[in-house]
């Protein structure tokens, strides 16, 4: 570990308000003297918690993509839509830009996020010392794009709320949407429990930008 990290110096950096403090020895769990958050040098059980959330998301992403996310019932029968069939519908009806957008937000991003977090966890566990900067940037990218996967949840919500015309059709949300929503929320929690400082814990001082 780098000798001038907070952990090496016995200091605690608050995750909420960023205050750096040296906790009193008497305290069992240290609390930030400014905002009162519990202090940890690294997020507690970061690796095992992130793995647990990731594995749950890997399992749920299967029903999320296979099960229908909504059902349209009309005079002409009923139709079930999965995430992919929704994308195809947009594509064939001529809205290519939106089809691509939904494809990325609902199919590419959740899967890419799972794979990337798996890679980050694995690299931390084998104490890789390669490309720490790039891995940190990847982590920030994951945190930034994850929320956009919620797109399809809102689309289903709005369609369900609006298409309630007896003469036309009735749309209902289907179990796939619940699984999909769970995947988005769980992967967001997974990226929050991952501690990017672990990426840097196995980096020797000579690799640092400051001493290059």
């Amino acid at each position: 570990m780098h000798p001038h990290t907070a952990a090496a110096l016995g200091l605690y950096a608050c995750h909420t308000c960023a205050l750096v403090s040296r906790p009193q020895a008497a305290e069992e769990v240290a609390h930030c003297p400014r905002c009162g958050s519990a202090l940890h040098q690294r997020k507690p059980e970061s690796i095992s918690r992130t793995w647990a959330l990731l594995i749950t998301a890997y399992i749920l992403i299967i029903p999320a993509n296979i099960l229908p996310i909504m059902e349209t019932g009309s005079l002409f029968g009923s139709q079930r839509d999965t995430i992919l069939s929704g994308v195809i519908y947009l594509w064939t009806s001529g809205s290519w830009a939106l089809a691509l957008l939904v494809f990325f937000a609902s199919i590419v991003v959740p899967l890419a996020k799972l794979v990337a977090l798996t890679y980050l966890l694995h690299s931390v566990q084998r104490q890789s010392s390669q490309n720490p900067e790039r891995r940190t940037r990847l982590y920030h990218l994951l945190k930034f794009i994850g929320r956009w996967s919620m797109l399809d949840i809102y689309v289903v919500t709005l369609l369900v709320a609006l298409v309630q015309l007896q003469s036309l059709a009735t749309i209902k949300a289907a179990p796939g949407a619940v699984a999909f929503g769970a995947v988005v929320v769980i992967t967001m929690f997974a990226s929050m429990t991952f501690d990017p400082r672990m990426i840097w814990d196995s980096i020797k001082e000579k690799n640092d930008r400051s001493s290059r």
Partner: protein, 200 residues
């Protein structure tokens, strides 16, 4: 013994000395290059004005229908809360909860707390750090901009089925987008934390 002029990088944990920044400047970590802290270009009254404008638009956005559809003389429209209720009645409680929290509850609580924090002179009271902690924790779950995109996709999908009537709330949500974006840059939690005392 708190040591306030020190800052530890959130990404690589390197402890560094805080330096004063020019207005609008960003300090980056010497080890990993991640942004450490920034100095806001905007003052308290500007942030407060943004919060009030956003709050008013947000209330209107929730009172009026977002969009309506018309087909063969039938008309159906829905407010945001109406949409949540429909999901709830369809036994989709989890989805209803998710939409309610990310589009209604989080922005409402966040705006209310921000206004309170910027109006109150009692940043030294015990409630101020709790309020700010809550704001910081909630921010990833505010998804108004994702909802707007969802609205766009829904309108395109529905336009093949029926005639679309945009509602007042649609324009309010559209106006909330740039407002929340401005608020994200204007609101700098670090300035408020700095005004709060240490307990020891």
């Amino acid at each position: 013994m708190p040591t306030s002029p020190l800052i530890a990088c959130h990404d690589c944990d390197l402890v560094q000395q805080e330096v004063p920044l020019p207005v609008g400047g960003v300090a980056t970590c010497v080890r990993c290059g991640a942004p450490l802290y920034r100095s806001s270009r905007f003052g308290k009254s500007y942030t407060l004005a943004l919060c009030f404008t956003a709050a008013i638009l947000f209330v209107i956005a929730n009172l009026y229908p977002i969009i309506g559809i018309e087909s063969q003389g039938n008309r159906h429209q829905s407010t945001l809360f109406g949409a949540v209720q429909t999901l709830w009645q369809d036994d989709m409680a989890l989805m209803a909860g998710l939409v309610f929290v990310t589009i209604l509850l989080v922005p409402a609580v966040e705006l209310a707390l921000l206004i309170w924090l910027h109006l109150t002179k009692h940043l030294t009271s015990g409630l101020a750090p709790i309020a700010l902690r809550l704001i910081v924790a909630m921010q990833p779950w505010r998804m108004v901009e994702v909802f707007m995109l969802g609205l766009l996709v829904s309108v395109v999908k529905l336009s093949h089925l029926a005639h679309i009537v945009p509602g007042i709330a649609l324009w309010c949500f559209a106006a909330l987008l740039p407002l929340f974006a401005l608020l994200n840059t204007a609101f700098n939690p670090r300035d408020l934390w700095a005004a709060m005392p240490l307990k020891q």
